[in-house]
């Protein structure tokens, strides 16, 4: 959905930013958002405090709340998906084949639930 939403908005995204923080995603304030996601999931409270302030300043207090909601929601979904071995829908498997290999996604342990043969 990331690539589709960016292309819908008339832009381009460098998906390598998802696995390499040195890469610019091409999305406005992408670095600030990625830093916030990493810090919220991570263990350093001081880094999180800075990331939170940066996001609020760069975007808005409302964006900070919504970003926290998105990060938390996917932390939930990822736990349920990985712990229960659900299968990715075929339309998304087909639509992601070109970048999964490049980003190493096909090597995730959870990939075997979908890529069985």
């Amino acid at each position: 959905m990331l690539r589709a939403s960016v292309e819908h908005a008339g832009g381009r995204v460098d998906l390598r930013a998802l696995v390499d923080r040195k890469v610019d995603s091409g999305i406005a304030h992408g670095g600030t958002l990625l830093a916030f996601a990493d810090a919220t999931i991570g263990t350093d409270s001081q880094v999180l405090n800075s990331a939170r302030d940066d996001l609020k300043r760069a975007l808005s207090p409302g964006a900070l709340v919504q970003a926290a909601a998105i990060v938390a929601n996917f932390a939930m979904n990822d736990r349920a998906a990985n712990a229960l071995g659900i299968v990715l829908e075929a339309m998304f498997v087909r639509g992601s084949a070109d970048f999964r290999q490049m980003l190493g996604i096909d090597r995730y342990p959870s990939a075997s639930n979908t890529l069985r043969d």
Binding site: M1, H8, V13, V19, G30, G62, A81, G85, P109, S110
Partner: protein, 240 residues
């Protein structure tokens, strides 16, 4: 009192309602565990996350209930180590005496608890306290339409195959309204319905999924939404 009244940030009412409902659900009966046991599952998960440095507080409440060692082990692992949740891990838990239904319920409770706790952490707030557990007994009923749909555990199909249970869990009789992430926890219907409700409040409702302009917050675009979502899933090595 509002759940996030201690925050100066503009938390949408829908988030407050969804999170308040989630916390209350832990204190009430589930499919296989009672409220005290479900609160103990949350306490175990919080304690593990605090010990691992993944959150700053939580887990220091008094013990709510006895819980089997294997249920505690599953709660801790799901709470802190998302990328290591393999089928072997689940099979070991089942071999050690957890039923598949109980396994699903522990996964559901922990996943939803981490969600609510991580939201608070993201805003710089302490974890929200749990309500006092009720003394109602668990339902102890597996949904009759649960079947093998390719996951490690039985799930309730969307649409007519899922019957009335599907309509209740997914909020629609349309099979398109039940992507696999919604069905994952459906062996314990209230856990699945809880995940769906949180997703609708925090991310989007399924009807808005293909509306690529959709956003709850005008200063955060849909591509920015999706960048956050994709990064979290990459950090967790979640293929889905």
């Amino acid at each position: 009192m509002r759940l996030y009244s201690d925050s100066e940030l503009p938390v949408r009412p829908a988030l407050e309602v969804a999170h308040g409902t989630t916390l209350a659900s832990f204190a009430g009966p589930g499919s296989w565990y009672n409220g005290a046991e479900r609160c103990e599952i949350v306490r175990e998960a919080r304690q593990a996350r605090t010990s691992a440095g993944l959150q700053d507080d939580g887990g220091d409440e008094p013990v709510y209930a006895d819980l089997s060692p294997v249920a505690r082990r599953v709660a801790r692992r799901v709470a802190i180590s998302v990328d290591t949740l393999t089928r072997d891990f689940m099979e070991e838990a089942l071999a050690d005496g957890l039923s598949v239904d109980e396994y699903v319920e522990v996964v559901g409770v922990v996943s939803r608890a981490v969600n609510v706790d991580l939201f608070a952490r993201g805003l710089g707030l302490p974890v929200r306290p749990l309500p006092l557990p009720t003394d109602q007994a668990p339902v102890r009923l597996r949904p009759s339409t649960a079947c093998d749909e390719g996951a490690w555990v039985p799930t309730v199909p969307g649409g007519s195959r899922g019957g009335e249970e599907a309509r209740r869990i997914y909020g629609s009789a349309d099979p398109q309204a039940a992507p696999f992430i919604y069905r994952a926890l459906s062996l314990c219907p209230d856990e699945a319905a809880g995940l769906v409700a949180l997703g609708a409040a925090q991310y989007l409702e399924i009807k808005d999924f293909m509306d690529l302009d959709f956003t709850y917050e005008p200063t955060l675009s849909r591509p920015q939404y999706e960048l956050l979502a994709a990064r979290v899933s990459a950090l967790h090595q979640c293929f889905y």
